[in-house]
Amino acid sequence: MHAVHSGMILPARLIRFVLPALLVILAALVLAALATGDMPLSPARVWAGLRREDSMAATIVWQMRLPRILSAILVGAALSSAGLVMQAYFRNSLANPGLLGVSSGGAAGAVIAIAAGWASVSLWFLPLAAIAGAVAATGGVLVLARHGASTERLLLAGVALNALLGAVTSYVLSQYIGLYERNAQILFWLLGGLEDRTWEHVGIALPIVAAAALLWPLGRSMDLMSLGVSEAQSLGVDVRRVRRQMLSLATVLTAVATAVAGAVGFVGLVVPHILRLLVGPEHRRLVPLSLVGGAVFVLACDIAGRLAGGLRLGIITSLIGAPFFLWLLRRLP
């Protein structure tokens, strides 16, 4: 394993302004997202809609734009913080939430639900099938790796499971290939996106809030866990308990985010990495920053995708994330 050179880009006195700055940007993005949509609504109508004075605008704003905005915030926070946890857990800054097969399990569950037609029956079935798939995948990884096994074992089990679940998805796609529309829906979902998110989806995403609250106090332990299991234990961390907590929180965050928004990639890899480059590796700082930074990133990508003519979230996160990341790396000494 090599250490990615991580020098801080921001001088120490500016670091404390990063979180307030991100919060301000998030507020601005929320306003921009309220005003963005296929239905042309002027800011006055949006305001009237918020106050429920204009019934069509109220429906659009309250039933469509607000749930989408909240879903974006929760999904972004979840994927980003799950990525942070995985990077600390596996002691590798290139780790991402999908390593242990959670997101491909969610994808397999969702794909099966779409192909079998359950997804058309009610809008609950698709996210719940994705969660079922994600939970089954995590269970599978733990069984394959045997409880309490080393990180190397877990990683390899995750690789195997990702391959297996990818095969399941491909199989379903090929079996139902005659149903072109269903296949289109499957591919649509696999790209990850936030179209037509409802308050039900926001409800499904609420565990993210609980998981984030549980993650907050783990920051210091994550610092030490990133040194290695023995080192952390010798310094006083209850490693078995903390590893269990980290793994289950990362799983819940990733599973729920995948259930709500499909397979959105890149957020969990890039956002914590960029934040670490900006403010350093202290996890007590990085946990809240990842939550807000992830929300900012996903909401911004969603708005950008809509302004660019309906590009899906998963495409935008990759198109924006990759060049920005390369630019950031070039600036390092």
Partner: protein, 237 residues
Amino acid sequence: MNSLDLIDATVPGRLGNVTVGLPRGKLVGLVGPNGAGKSTLLRVAAGLLPSEGTVAWNGRPLSGIPSLERARCTAWVPQEAHFEFGFSVRSVVAQGRYAHGDDESGVDETLARFGLSALAGRPVNRISGGERARVLLARAIVTEAPLQLWDEPLAPLDPRHRLEVLVLARELAQSGSTVFLSLHDLSLASSLDLLAVLCATRLRALGSPADILTPNLLLDVFGVRASATPSLNLELP
């Protein structure tokens, strides 16, 4: 009461029935050929590797001590440390205070003692191997743990810093702590209070260096012949 007691500590394939008791206030060396099990022994003593047999600190069996308290009793320095993330030198050393509620007392003094004050803000994965070894030692010192277990701490250090570390270890021993360190340099080993010799996963001998480092043992355990030539004695000015 011994600060460390290992009774029949066994790790299959790596450590065989080691029974050793280290009294308080001693500077103890652990020597042995490569693969003898020195790192394993230190890990078992630190409670990081489960073993058959018993491990006890100050008479208390390990299993009864909760994790935070363990960290206050014992400090362990690994042979190699890989830092994936660039924590600053100062924050790495401050990690030793985790078991003390993350207060930062003693951190700056220890940095100064190890000559690391100038490097305090540098990311730990951008310093040399020897500097990193001193950071790990500083972190162990900062824990104020009475039982110090160091795995080959001197190997990456230059001659001056080796002597400084031994002087520091001697001070710790004199103030009542026990320092148990593994090393390869037998001439340095001869300046320690006690020496434990491990060979092929078993404890061969435990006693003062003068008694233990006999020509027979050296030939048998290390496969080297010792001759009494005037040796290079290094000292701090």
